[in-house]
Each structure stands twice: as structure tokens, then as C-alpha cells.
Amino acid sequence: MGQLEIEKLNETTFVLQMGPHHPATHGVLKLYCEFEGERVLRIIPDVGYLHRGVEKLAESKTYPVAMTITDRLDYISSMTNNIGYCIAIERLMGIEPTRRAKFIRTMVAELTRLSSHLLWLATHALDIGAMTVFLYAFREREQILTFFEKICGARLTVSYPRIGGVRVDVEQAVLDEIYGFTDTMLKKIDDYEELLTENRIWIARTKGIGIISAEEALSLGLTGPVLRGSGVYYDIRKLEPYDAYGEVNFEVPLGENGDTYDRYLCRIQEMRQSVFIIKQCIEKMPEGQVISEQSPQIDMPFQGKREILADGSLWNGFVSFTDKKNEIMPKGEFYSAIEAPKGELGFYIVSDGSGRPYRMRVRAPSFIHISAIPKLCEGHLLADVITIIGTLDIVMGEADR
């Protein structure tokens, strides 16, 4: 990009460098756009402005401590990031969280999904020009953040789940409050739908914009509501149930046309399903402990003790230490994924037996969704580029890591 490309341009094409400081790009995303008139010729996304080295940083922390870094990946749904990481380490260690912890986790994950979708709806509608929905959605999101504050003491960077459970128990009063909130939430979702679903401006701006077929979506690696909007049944909560998702009933909403409007309907229906899951979780909430006994302490050592071999002595009175250390974690490498609000959030962890991950690779949905922007924007107008960025629901903290 840059100088060479600009020289090759035709006289009719027009170059616009959108971002990285543009309010509609949802973070520090930069788009190199070439237009012919107002039609998009091609778009090249440029990422990396928010790179903080999260994956490298995790290599210098022990497994329980590295969890606090995952809060900062997708900072508007940090609970699911934590849960995804914790489930990955649980599968590595072969421990099972307690039953109550599973239900609490499912409940907070769905609350996070609600809050993330509300923020998506708010900003997406604001980009297209519907100001009112922005304010209404933030009103409900504020309540969800207050629940998080009551549960764990923080609103965004929660650090609530632990490997093998959760940090503290949720009080019954808070559960009752959340149960009361679910009823009002359903009415509020109806309100959003009345404001948008049949609105002629909304339909004109979203129908037929950013169409992607099921095959193309699969080949681009899209996941989450973006893939389901194209009609592909892919939801890790159903296909490979983790936590308590196997014990609650819910449906996976699917779209038909794969355009922005269908993705919007999918997410709205998903919010309804989230509310139903939260209700079922609170109704079925079992009693008991919230953290498993085998779960590692948060101050676990980063390496095992050295082995002292009796036959390694040089002569009587001296004992030599061998280089071999006791392993405190199982060795191996594996991939584990959960269904985050934005798509499939995977953690690929390589363990060398010490208390620190040898390598932690994050498969972030936002990063992969950005790669679909050039394909989705083909032949659309400049104003539709904003719509397409909004409908993909990208968070740059997760994409750049």
C-alpha cells in the first residue's frame, strides 16, 4: 500500500483512507478504500494499531494470572473471554467445575451476550442514523453492568471466573433481581424491534447490503451471528455443549439471505434466547460450592521443584541437582473454543509442563471477520461500508490483541 499503489490508480478512481481515528470504525481500524464515483472498487483493511502483545505477555504469567489479560481482549464481553480461557485450562488439567459454578457461568455468559449485543445494536443503529436506539440500549446495558458489579465488584474487566469454578458465590438477592430484569428485558427487546424492524429507513439501509452466501461465509471462516445470518447451523453451545448449555433449552436463530437485515434479526432473536437461558439458569440453580477442590491456587508456582537424585552425587556429602523439574501441569497442546457473542473464540495452548503457558494463541472472531470486509463491500456505496463494519460487530482490542 502507499506510494506505489497510488501511482497505479486510474484517473477515475478516488482513494480514501478511512480511520484509524474514525468514530464509525469501532476502534482503531484503518480502511484503505478505492472508489469509482461512490462505488467501492476495493478495500484493504489495515490492522495492528491496538497491538499490545497479549499472547506474548501470557507466556510470562502463570495460568491463573494470565486470565486477567484475557479481560482486555474483547473488552465489552470480558466474561466470555475469561470463561473461554478457563475452560481451555480446565480441559488441559482434566478438572471439572462444580455444578453451581457451571450454572453461574452460563448465566453470566448470557448476560454478557446481552450486553455485547446491546452495545452492537446501539452503535450499529447510531452509525446508520437511528439515535434513539443508542440511548435505549445503553439504558439496559447499564443495568447489566450493575449486576456484574454486584456479582464480582467490577463492571467491565471482571476477572470473575476461575480455573475450576468462579471466584465468589452470587447472592440470592442478586439472582432475584436478575430474574426480575429478564421480564423487563423481553419488553425492551420488543421496543427495539418496534423502532427498527419495520422502519422503512432501517430496511432501506440494511436489506440487500453486504450479502454473503453460506459457502462464502464458511470459506472465509466467519462464525457466530454473521455465519448464522447466512443460514448455517453452527453454534458451539449446541454442537459441543460446555458449562450448563447441555441442560438448558434454547433455539439457534438462523437467517436466510445473509444480508445485514438478517444478521440484525438473528442477533435480536439471540438476545431473546439469552433471556430465556438466564431464566432457566436461575430456576435450575443448584446449591453447593462454586469452585472445584482440584482447581489450582491463584498463587501457584511457575515451575515445579527440582528433582534430587540420590545417585547423582559426586561424592559423599554432595548432592547435585539435575536439570529436570517436576511437572506441575500436563504436557501437550490442544485447541478449545467457546461461543463468544461475536463468534467462535478459541484458545490454542501449548503446555510444556511448567506453570506458564509455553504459547497461547487466541483465535479471535473479530480478526477473522475483518478479513471479510473487502468481500462484503464489493460494489456498495461509501455509506454502506459503515453499515458493513457495524454488522460484523468487530472489536479492535480482540482483533489486534
Binding site: T68, T132, S159, V168, D169, L195
Partner: protein, 212 residues
């Protein structure tokens, strides 16, 4: 046909406008911040403080350095010396760099004696960089400031006793921590003290008067 009528009558837009019209009659959810303050929920992770031990008037810290080890952002600095007579560790330096802190609350969870705590005090922005480096005295002062504005009589952080966690896997100090008495409705506390003093005085007066 029906859709045409709907479009001609602007029914879709009217539906939305009815909702916005209804909202006029609801209360605003925003608060006017500097005048009206948001009350944080119990257990909110705000400014750091050292719990002042009511018996000794000093901090509870025993310099085990667990918090410094577990801190993800490495913002805690501890120095200690060893008392040659008793062999106990004596805290000589304890500093927290609040700019680096990420407020994960690991330090208060790992502390075996519940010395460090993240209080519910959140308004400590300042123009001065130095004021966000907390040392021992400042941390104790933070606790006093927090207790002064706290509006309950007893303070017990839920990350001290960790409800729902099996008692056996916790260190001894975390199994059954006692709440700290704050006497935050200080007025009534002072009044009650005053009354008891008056009573004792009056009793003394009576006893003095009796011989006459």
C-alpha cells in the same frame, strides 16, 4: 395491499414515535454526576487501602510478599527486614503504583491476613502524579478516608471470606474473618458515648451528694 396502506399512513414510523413519546413520561436514568454521586455496590474494586488493625492501630500486613508475586501488572513493591529476636518479618516498605494496577483483586484474594483491600472509594483522580503512588502511610490514610465516608457499621469485604468456597481449601485467616467495626453513623456513636459519660457523671454526683 396491506403493506401499501401501512406505507402510505406511515404506520411503521408512527409505531416508533409512540415509543419515544411514551418515554417522555418516564424518569431519567442519568445522574448529574458531581452533584449527585453514584453509590458503588458492596465489594466494588476501587482505591487500595491497608486495613488498620483496631487493636494495634497499625497495618495487618505480615510481609509474606504473596500479593507482589501474584500481581499480574507487578505494581506492588515490598521490602522487609527480619527481627533477630523473634524471627518475624517486619515490613519496611510497601508501595503500590496505582497507575499500573488493573484492579483484578488478586492481591486481596491471596492475602492470608486480609491486610490489603480494594475499597469502594473511586474518586481519586488528581492533577498530581505523585498522589497515585501509595506507600504504607498513604494506604493507611486511604483506609481512614474510606471508613469516614462508609455508611455502615461493619465492614466485611466479600473477597475476604469468599462465600460459596469450601472452607477447607482456604487459608486460616480467610475461613472466618471478623467484620471490622466502623461506627459509621458516628453521630449516634458519639452521642451514645456522651450519654454513658453523663450517666456515669450523674452517678458520681449522686454518690458525692449522698453523704451530705
Amino acid at each position: 395491499m396491506r403493506t401499501l396502506v401501512k406505507k402510505l399512513l406511515f404506520l411503521d414510523l408512527l409505531k416508533g414515535l409512540i415509543i419515544t413519546f411514551k418515554t417522555i413520561f418516564t424518569h431519567p436514568v442519568t445522574i448529574r454526576y458531581p452533584k449527585e454521586k453514584r453509590k458503588p455496590e458492596p465489594g466494588f474494586r476501587g482505591r487500595h487501602a491497608f486495613v488498620r488493625n483496631p487493636d494495634t492501630g497499625k497495618e495487618r500486613c505480615v510481609a509474606c510478599t504473596k500479593c507482589a508475586q501474584v500481581c499480574p501488572s507487578q505494581c506492588i513493591y515490598i521490602d522487609y527486614s527480619i527481627n533477630s529476636e523473634t524471627g518475624a518479618r517486619v515490613l519496611t516498605k510497601y508501595e503500590i503504583d496505582a497507575f499500573r494496577c488493573i484492579f483484578c483483586g488478586y492481591c486481596e484474594q491471596v492475602c492470608p491476613v486480609n491486610a490489603i483491600v480494594l475499597t469502594e472509594f473511586y474518586e481519586y483522580a488528581s492533577y498530581n502524579r505523585q498522589s497515585n503512588y501509595f506507600d504504607r502511610e498513604v494506604l493507611l490514610k486511604n483506609w481512614d478516608e474510606f471508613v469516614k465516608q462508609y455508611n455502615r457499621n461493619e465492614y466485611l469485604n466479600k473477597f475476604w471470606y469468599l462465600p460459596g468456597v469450601d472452607r477447607n481449601i482456604l487459608p486460616a485467616g480467610k475461613r472466618n474473618p471478623e467484620p471490622i467495626l466502623c461506627y459509621l453513623d458516628k453521630q449516634s456513636h458519639i452521642e451514645s458515648q456522651h450519654l454513658s459519660q453523663l450517666n456515669s457523671l450523674s452517678v458520681q454526683d449522686n454518690s458525692k451528694k449522698e453523704p451530705h
